[in-house]
Amino acid sequence: MTEMSSVPWLTIMGLIPLVGSLVVAFTPGSALMAKRLALGFSLVTLVVGIVAALQFQINSPKQFQLGEQAAWIPQFGVSYALGVDGIALVLILMSLVLTPICLIAAWNDVPEEAKESGGSRNVRTYFALLLVLETFMVGVFAATDVFLFYAFFEAMLIPIYFLIGRFGGARRQYAAMKFLLFSLAGGLIMLVAVIGLYLQGPGGTDGFLIERLTGLSMDPTTERLLFVGFFIAFAIKAPMVPFHTWLPDAATESTPATATLLVGVLDKVGTFGMIRFCLQLFPEASHWATPVVVTLAVISVIYGALLAIAQTDMMRLISYTSVSHFGFIVLGIFAFTNVGSAGSTLYMVNHGFSTAALFLFAAMLIHRRGSKRIPDYGGWQSVTPALAGIFLVAAMSALALPGLSTFVSEFLVLVGTFPTWPAAAVIATSGIILAALYMLLMYKKIMTGPPPSDVIGERALARLSASEQEQPEHARRSLVPDLSAREKLLAAPLIAVILVLGFYPNLALNPINPAVDKSLSHVLTTPAAGNAAAEGSSK
């Protein structure tokens, strides 16, 4: 099942940011030094990731490649086993690209304090935590041992908890706690299921390996219980309605970089887990649960979009759009078609970049205005035209404009769902109308209308003559700069990826397709519940 690799690429990928975090945290020096070091480590990780990806064989007969395996707790069947298929590979690459972008975005999030109150300590902690998070992101997607996956799944909570609770906004403690309680609740349920699954398996020193646990013949009731245990944890993480209420608080209160990694990457562990574990390990139970899951997914699509329309806080609005988008992803996964699953996987990648663009570009506005409230804006196109331009690109990407990457994935999800769940596909498709509403209404309220009376942009100022500048109505307006070099640096790669994957989505789809075929093969060859019973009785 796993193609072993002579070079432990995945371990190296995970270790570099971990070492980096220690270096950043414990090397004394200026804050700038710490930031540069952190960025350097994340860029090296990205390079290693690209080199590793080039070793990946698209048409390998094995499910996992770049494999590594060592006994960890052999008494309990736990191995340190890593490996990737196309799904994990593209998600890891997405994480590796997003991390340096988020580090650049995080550059000025935390102020350097006076020497006596700690100097650069806060900055160093913040960047070190972001790097630790990167290690866990690689680990959780690469784990091919169920227990190891669980360990990463839970361990991720720690850096995120501190990132929200220490560096967030006014209600950060509340948001961090809420996030943690939701996640812990899911995690504990999953833990029970993980153990239960092990007991169903063959046991032995490597009994937690996914390949040992695939294709077990279980009592249907047990299988369904185990499925539910995994699914609830993933549904909370994803987040699906009705487990979504932690997300808007967490995303609003954390720094934009944290919010991006949280929604863009960590939440994908939920939907990734559904493909990897729910569908592959519990095919019969997956069939059994599908009607409920598909219904919840469609509700998420519509409900998230409707709530987004009514939000007055930018960050909350963006969070609710993600609830809607995660509904699409889950829908495609549980459509049980290759098209739908490939679409969902691509959706996970595209949503990562698209939502990063939204969060980070909105943060640029918030930084300038000092407010997250949409009604505090209006007419900002004339103040910061370039920022308005990239914000519009992000908005178009979020509403899945054809030509941009998100369109391809959303379309694949829907066209892949239609054959098996036509009504669900049609209802979810109406989400494209709602998406236009929530994005364009936000853009309109922020960017259009008469120029604000208290600020002025560089270009607008340059157009005024010297005497006009003296006028009291202009003199009391403060100058707001347009995009800085740092902001351009982080915006350019995001927009480039959104455009490139829209123009040539096969770049990501080529490795995804065979992986989806393998992951789905178990569900597709397992007869649905009613049939299984019928066959059983005929025997």
């Binding site: 707790i73 078609t337 596909a425 364009l440 309109k444 209308g449 096969n506 049939n531």
Partner: protein
Amino acid sequence: MQSGMETLSTLANGAGTYAAGALAHDGEAHAATGVSTYAWLLVALPLLGAAVLMIGGRRTEKFGPLLATALSWGAFVVGAIVYISMLGRPTGDRPVNLYLFDWVAAGSFKVSAGMLLDQLSLVFVLLITFVGSLIHVYSLGYMKHDPDKQRFFAYLNLFVASMLLLVLANSYLLLYVGWEGVGLASYLLIGFWQYNPAFATAGNKAFVMNRVGDFGLSIGIFIMFFHFGAVDFSTVFAGAQAVGGVNQGFMTAIGLMLLLAACGKSAQFPLQAWLGDAMAGPTPVSALIHAATMVTAGVYLVVRSGPIFDATPNAQLAVAIVGAFTLIFGAIVGCAKDDLKKALAASTMSQIGYMMLAAGLGPIGYAFAIFHLLTHGFFKAGMFLGAGSVMHGMNNQVDMRRFGGMWAVMKITWVTFGLGFLAIIGLPIFSGFWSKDKIIEAAFVGEGWRPWVFGLVAMIGAGITAFYMSRLFFMTFHGKRRWTDDVHPHESPLTMTIPMMVLAVGSAFLGIILGPTGIITGWLDPVFGVDEAVEEHPVMPATVIMVVTLVLVLAGAALAWLRYLRDEVPVVAPTGSLVTQAARQDLYQDQINEGAFMRPGLHLTRSLVFLDSKGIDGAAGGLAAMVGGSSSRLRKLQNGFARSYALTMLAGVVAILGAVWVIS
């Protein structure tokens, strides 16, 4: 639905019921060779211009507009070369397929990016690049003093690229990219003067209503993939032909969904309400996008999908009904508008209604729908540019009650606009006569009630058109000067008037060149598989139809003459009859939309916010408090959190590993 493995895997592979039809189909279009292989430049050139101007920003202020104009003409040259090479081939070899690259491949859903260069798409290419480039030139003058003009030209180039992609795509998925691309350009250009909140709202309205149409396009494509296993034209059309003319539910569904898409893009009932507001955009935009090209994309979609509609008479009838209804709707609204541009917009809606009606008549109407689209592209764009020229001289006023007697101060505008006016009312010899008369004649073909209803509607529509266009023309250019004191109208510069003159020549002569000579039908009919030997006869003799139509046209024009030229036009609009009041309010389209969708929607989203924070989140919070025992314990947990968490984790893992050890 999934009752077994076989069904499921069949469904999963999207293997269509009629996919087999594709195998029997040997493909009509050959692979492109020679100059045709460079047809991708048609899209690439204006796209490059858009990219340079957008990324370059104000650094391109000096050369940007010229570059954009040059690239648009460049696309015209490429289009002309491809067209000439097509002329050189025998009819059967004219359509070619240009494969570009494998675009999307996920599971069994495989779509390559490619272009279909046939007689139909080439007609559009020439119209779009020629009129589009003329309007670029016009905009050089019109937008000369706008500080953001490079952004304007970037959007114009983006529009031309998207529109060309729309008509050149060889699959529904790629068409979709162009389809929404033009929607984006339209949105950006309607709200170009974004500091005016009403303009920004108009842009949003257009985009959202178009998305309702796109919903239809999406569903239509899903059904195609489900039944035919592919979404490229040749497979889908071969499959549709295999289905035959029997009314199959799913074929009707595809047809109706495509019609919904067409209604959104072409401002047909019930998705017509955005077009009037779209006049907020700069006037060259109204001419290019909201008159000559983009709004006619719905007609293109229906005509291109001819094989589908031919296989579903029900959906085809729906197209004709929508067209007939909108043509009267637009005409009535047009009679009551005092805003020059909005009156023209209502007229556009009505004229597209004619095209839709023709497209809904089936193969006998397709060529005439495109013919009218072509002549309309010239005369309506010309009149919009004329309107822009009038506004240019009148401080951007649009109230026709404040115009009058303009003919004396803007001679070129008067003459060019006048030619467009004569063309649209369908006076013999001028372009509109040839194309509209053919549609009216075709509408009278058939059996039962249809020819009488469609034919009479088309005929009466011609009379109303003559009335409102004459009203518009007289109120603007003739009669007493009712100008406000601050205006000093003057003729526009040559960059603006030359494009108007070129379009006026088209308004005058394009119809007579293409129509009675049979050029347009000869060119297009092979695409639609029309056998010219078979002649269909209308229920009334063609000469009778023509004469009655002409009488109605003259009556309409005479009535307008009585009311708006002989009688003095009051500066303030009189109250008018109930019908007039309703027509002024666009027959209450906005009020209906607001009452039926916007206000209930607003209440829904607000109550959901309440539900989410009080209901769902409250329940989750309550649950958490319950688990934690009490809220005070929860707070304690929060304080000494790090320690408790680590301990809990550790305790949990130890307990579990212990349990595992005991069990095994």
